[in-house]
Symmetry: C2
Subunit: 342 residues, 2 copies
Amino acid sequence: PFKVYQIGRVWRGERQQAGRYREFLQCDVDIIGSSRIEADAEIVAVLYETVKALGVTDFVIKVNNRKIMNGLMTYIGLDTARAPAVFRAIDKLDKQTWDTVADELQETGLNSEQVSQLKTFFELRDAKKEKLLDGMQDTLRDSSEAREGVEELRKLALSLQAFGVPDNGWCIDPVVVRGLGYYTGPVFEISLRGSEKIGSVGGGGRYDSLVERFSSAPVPATGASIGFDRLFKSVKSLGLTKLKNKTQVIVLNFDDAARDSCLKVTTELRRAGISTELYLGQEDNLKGQLAYATKRDVPVVVIIGSEEQAKNTAQLKDMKKRKQFEVPVTNVVRKIEELLIC
Amino acid sequence: PFKVYQIGRVWRGERQQAGRYREFLQCDVDIIGSSRIEADAEIVAVLYETVKALGVTDFVIKVNNRKIMNGLMTYIGLDTARAPAVFRAIDKLDKQTWDTVADELQETGLNSEQVSQLKTFFELRDAKKEKLLDGMQDTLRDSSEAREGVEELRKLALSLQAFGVPDNGWCIDPVVVRGLGYYTGPVFEISLRGSEKIGSVGGGGRYDSLVERFSSAPVPATGASIGFDRLFKSVKSLGLTKLKNKTQVIVLNFDDAARDSCLKVTTELRRAGISTELYLGQEDNLKGQLAYATKRDVPVVVIIGSEEQAKNTAQLKDMKKRKQFEVPVTNVVRKIEELLIC
């Protein structure tokens, strides 16, 4: 199989909404050419490990299977063409009461018995995995497609456990259908607690007949996408973002006669791995440049003017402790390393 | 000043040529809001450090100044509007003889005296930096703009030295003008020896009046771009690319009854930082999966079937030494780490 991950800008031609941008950064992971359920499990495991690696603790990956949903439509005697409208109504169960959803279902043309059948089915939702699977299997026992879907979820559960995804890291949720029509088997959706307003930060599923549309041969495939912008927004709102690579040192640059030393020190600091800015702004005097450094909130400022240049020294200003040290130019790196640790 | 670097896809509406793609990956670095020559030097230093970090040894950053080129046009009494055609001809001096270029210059309408003046000027090209600067200054002494350009190059030289760019890492080359019309001061171009056919892998310059075209205020700016595709092609042709993150282990997956152990071992190996692939292909027997692993050229293969599962062991196949070990499942990671080191 061909395994691939990619992160890149993508564009959307549909209507924009809150959290639905015209241009956004998408992180994809896909396995092309494998029909094994372990491939689906591996995608879910990647989603799990990715969100966990960001430090998010309160999230769950919701899993469902399109085959079960197709069986459900057959069970209530609904034509496949009318399923999308029903799925759209069902999708609102997370935000609205059953009664509101029931009204919408009736507007799509379902009769009260069909609505009642769906109600009973979706009440299974609150059960634990094993009981939920048994319940779905029992309700949809006449559909071989649904039975196949349930069987896939059982295998998926075993694979996820073996891949080390904990039991509370994922759940089965029959409400999850995913908007796109091309899914054919397991579908997944990342649900971050406290970010419901932003919308799902990612999801995917098996799409065994999509490749065929663009080529001559059928190729099984499974994969998922994470919406980087949404995920970043969520992670940020959870306070989990840290600003890295912040400038640690600003080397002032106010005296043409000392420019040489300033540039040399800048390069030495950078080579020592210290994030260093050489002052390149419009201020041409010490006072103005110091004000800039204060505003930029850096821990250390290096000052070298003609006087220091003549003595081959540099003034180091510890901006937090408001202390100033004069050191030989050759000691600047070591001394700044000390100041940054303290 | 605003400092920014970015790497992203860009598109070109112009004609395609060898090495000139419609879509390509561009790496930019820019300093917006500083008119200081140290900013230009910092851009050149970034280009130098970047190419050097890739392991390329035989390269030089060619530097020139648009102000000198403008002064040169005044010196030969040429209207500014006709300069682009002259620059295009001059640009070919790297690949063609002076006589061929001279013919093209005459076709643009230059008289023989003007061509002769240019010849004398570009003969300066072979001189060392200091002498070349003196020569340009002397020839173009009547142009205050050219004098300013020479002065900028002198300052740039001092800054580059202070930034730690060695003398053989850059040169002054009056032939470099850069295609784009918006440059106003120093211009740079990366020249990789042995990659002349691919074309310049990057370059840039000061563009003090470009921002103004898109906003109300004039903002000084300098920067450069590296064409990732071209640079990668060059680095590859120099044999400097290494394939990283190559799969180290394939865990076979041919026995449903042992799937659980296979997935667990896969996760353990991955958590230990070992790049591990779980077999997800169409082959369902040991022999077929082993043939796949041989083709993929991985150092170690893990084999767990029902027999091993019953004993809680795994077979590890060292594919280079053609040796096989049976170890307890709990020892798989440690033993593979050993095998990979040897």
